[in-house]
Symmetry: D2
Subunit: 283 residues, 4 copies
């Protein structure tokens, strides 16, 4: 039997925790996880509750309707998920394929609670990798002239396949605002620096030039502002003057794989709540 | 107004979360934090709930009585704390004083929710430090002959002062089983290795001899079995062949301060639950 | 033009550095890297020197003969390498294939200065992966009865192919002393714990049972004593009570890949010097 | 007997290593450490060589003269140090005293190869701490009006005492260009962020606002450009949404102590070479 998960945010007030746990308990649900967080500065309450549907008295298709009464009372923003519903996912990639390989190997191992339905690239290189893993591949080469048109085609493919999550696994094209709006809070990017340091192009070369002693990687939701979206996960690794730019990149790419895969894993386990330009990660 | 904190463990079963949150909510308490954990392997439920006493309908001296009904129903082991009750604490130390200094500086900064009432040592060196910070100091020199007798005197002093927590901040005497039993789950030790590696004497020299590339420190509750008690916190730091034993020790001692102070902080914030030989840390 | 590398150890004495650097300089070599280390406790000197063969007056096949005079004078143990000679390498693996994949992907990227000539396993699973990367695969199933015989066959294959380095990338068979002696200091293992903690079988389950707050991985040269050989590299990662055994393993396996690949990389770059049961790593 | 240390940088060319090591060896010096680094991008050679003066044939006051011949030949920038000459050091601090305490405790333990001769502050608070450790204290309150004048007085005190190193241990005044020029490469600052992220004021509040998952600290030489000088050392530590700003600061300040003390230690051990806006740290 699957579990149900509610992700909730609302103005903080007495009685929210009790109301939500009672909703589950009174309907004979067995709570497996419950976590909450209060941001005092903005008086906002966040909650993640996961319970087993075994013996739960409300049918799954009626949970939304029944929970709405509580949600309205507390002016909640909320989402309901079921652990047996695997979101269809597309991976976008350019020429560096280490993150793609990493995600596909984790997928094959059963680590990622999704269905990877598609690999998209602006170059042909990833096609062979997608094929090895039995995943569909679409190439959309992008130029300054055809970008608008190609994105439109991409969106058509995504919609047709019912894609619900887009992972930018070192995809070196800036998505237009229109594309981003279509997948609000549903595009996860890996940026190869410790943001907000070194946004934009060539962060490794910038880090090398600056002489930093630690480099980083950042996974975040994509918004219309480049490399400015809500951060989900970051990692850092020490380097030294002995590291050439190539060695710095090798160490950085190892980190990218870890950081991106953790962000994706947590998103898929419904542990990430975005608010404003920040995230709560109930890891 | 202070907060109340309940630390609970019991056999896992439906309805615990709802029962506890309702107890708080129905009596007009405002829940500030709630965290729970289930250990599937032993079917045990753990919970930490913290609520504001502002407007809470039950008087603080009656909470124990009123909560007992719920506790009994679920066969809970539980403890109730109030954030304005600061446990009296003694720090035991031998000749290395870095952890003592670190704790006293944090105490002075207001980081530690306790009252440090006493410094105990088997050497005179710590006396000067204790004095600088205005803390009482007792020296109990220990030999193989007088140990039993001295521990008895130590316990008398601790009892007289109402000490509720003993911190072994590099105290190089093994406490007898009798002493440990008097302060069960209330003695926190720092061991200067990554346990279970290098228990017992001279862990840094052992680590150096073994040629490890990373050293560690471990803070744990003291049990009758030397360096075997439930681990609260650990830390590690990279070393290399270039580090002499002295440099290894310097790096290790920096780590000890961080690891011990975190363990103490969490214990005092009532975030640590011991079970069997493990801990849940709701950090 | 390739570089030459000398790895040297000898009793510490005045004049070693000058003698070696003069040997290179007087013969018109351009020193690219030089690092030395002295272990005071055992009065031993270690050195790694790398120089460009461009314009070097001694023919590469005569360097050994010419350097021997200096080596003898200082009673050196030494090895000479050339960066264009790629050692033939075999990877041994059992059922967990994450380290194998990781090494082969790095190999494909050109990160590893070797020729991976062979994958060996006691199970068939790795065959498909080896094939994807175009590497020969040999299955030698091992039972308590046939072990001696199978190892003999394995050694024959290794010898025939001229294998100079064996990587145990989660190979769950204990190599016999005879096998180990044939490849002294040329077998690199990954053990999935922070040695000397949790040697032997099932280290993750042991770590989980112990309740440690950090887990580790260790890469070391294989000696006849199980999990006791000289450590090349270690890594650690934080876990918490929230991590199930499966999550602990997932985090640990990510670490294994990093730790093993770094050890292999450094070995192949001739940066590792073994002495006694320790290593100097000129990283 | 003390050691001599040479820190050298020059255009890369054949024969530098041999020339320097021969200089030491031919004069009967025993090399204890030698490290070199070549930055290919700017064709620059860096070297640190340390040798025992026991039996060294050149008198220490004549080493400079004798070495100059080699230095000129290779157009070296170089500095000569002796391990028994302890540079006089001043610590500048404002209201947060954790780094001051940390440095003074390390000093008392004998970790820092300097003579701390002075504590300077724009507030009176540090006076008591300086006194505890028996160090002179000068208060120079700074306003926008008196800054120029006060800095002049500070410089007079520094000069009179022969101060050779200034440590800004959370000193919240921007030094004027004139002051910085007087102590070029001899002022070490701790900035409480992972530079180049969050330069300037209130980096912890900025990090909290941005929702980063890791915070950092950076120690660097001070130049006329605020928070832009060559980085000596950096450190990072994980945080989460659960950390309040106060907890973020507490974790950050623990890090500052480690990062600043390492930078100071390495500087005093003459392991740091500045070049352009970067450093080589022969740690």
């Amino acid at each position: 039997m699957p579990n149900a998960i509610l992700l909730i945010s609302c103005p903080d007030k007495r009685g929210i925790t009790a109301a939500v746990t009672n909703f589950v308990y009174d309907n004979n649900g067995n709570i497996v996880h419950v976590e909450q967080h209060i941001d005092d500065q903005i008086n906002t309450f966040f909650m993640r509750i996961e319970w087993s549907l075994e013996g739960f008295k409300i049918k799954r298709e009626e949970i939304t309707r029944d929970f709405s009464r509580i949600a309205e009372k507390f002016s909640m923003k909320w989402d309901l998920y079921f652990t047996d519903v695997l979101p269809k996912t597309a991976i976008f990639v350019s020429k560096r394929l280490h993150c793609l390989y990493d995600l596909l190997l984790r997928y094959k191992e059963g680590q990622l609670a999704c269905e990877i339905a598609l690999v998209v690239s602006n170059h042909p290189d990833a096609g062979k990798v997608a094929k090895e893993f039995g995943i569909s591949f679409h190439e959309f080469s992008i130029t300054s002239d055809n970008k608008h048109e190609q994105e439109k085609k991409e969106l058509e493919v995504l919609k047709k396949l019912g894609i619900e999550l887009v992972i930018l696994a070192r995809y070196h094209q800036i998505l237009s605002e229109n594309f981003v709006n279509e997948y609000s809070d549903k595009i996860i990017n890996i940026h190869h620096s410790f943001l907000p340091a070194f946004p934009g192009k060539d962060p490794y070369a910038k880090a090398y030039g600056k002489g930093v002693k630690i480099i980083g990687a950042t996974s975040h939701y994509v918004t219309k502002d480049l490399d400015e979206g809500p951060i989900i996960e970051q990692g850092t690794v020490r380097i030294s003057h002995k590291d050439t730019l190539a060695e710095l990149i090798r160490n950085g790419e190892d980190l990218e794989k870890l950081v991106l895969s953790r962000a994706v894993l947590w998103h898929l386990e419904r542990k990430v709540l975005r608010y404003g330009n920040k995230t709560v990660v109930f890891d």
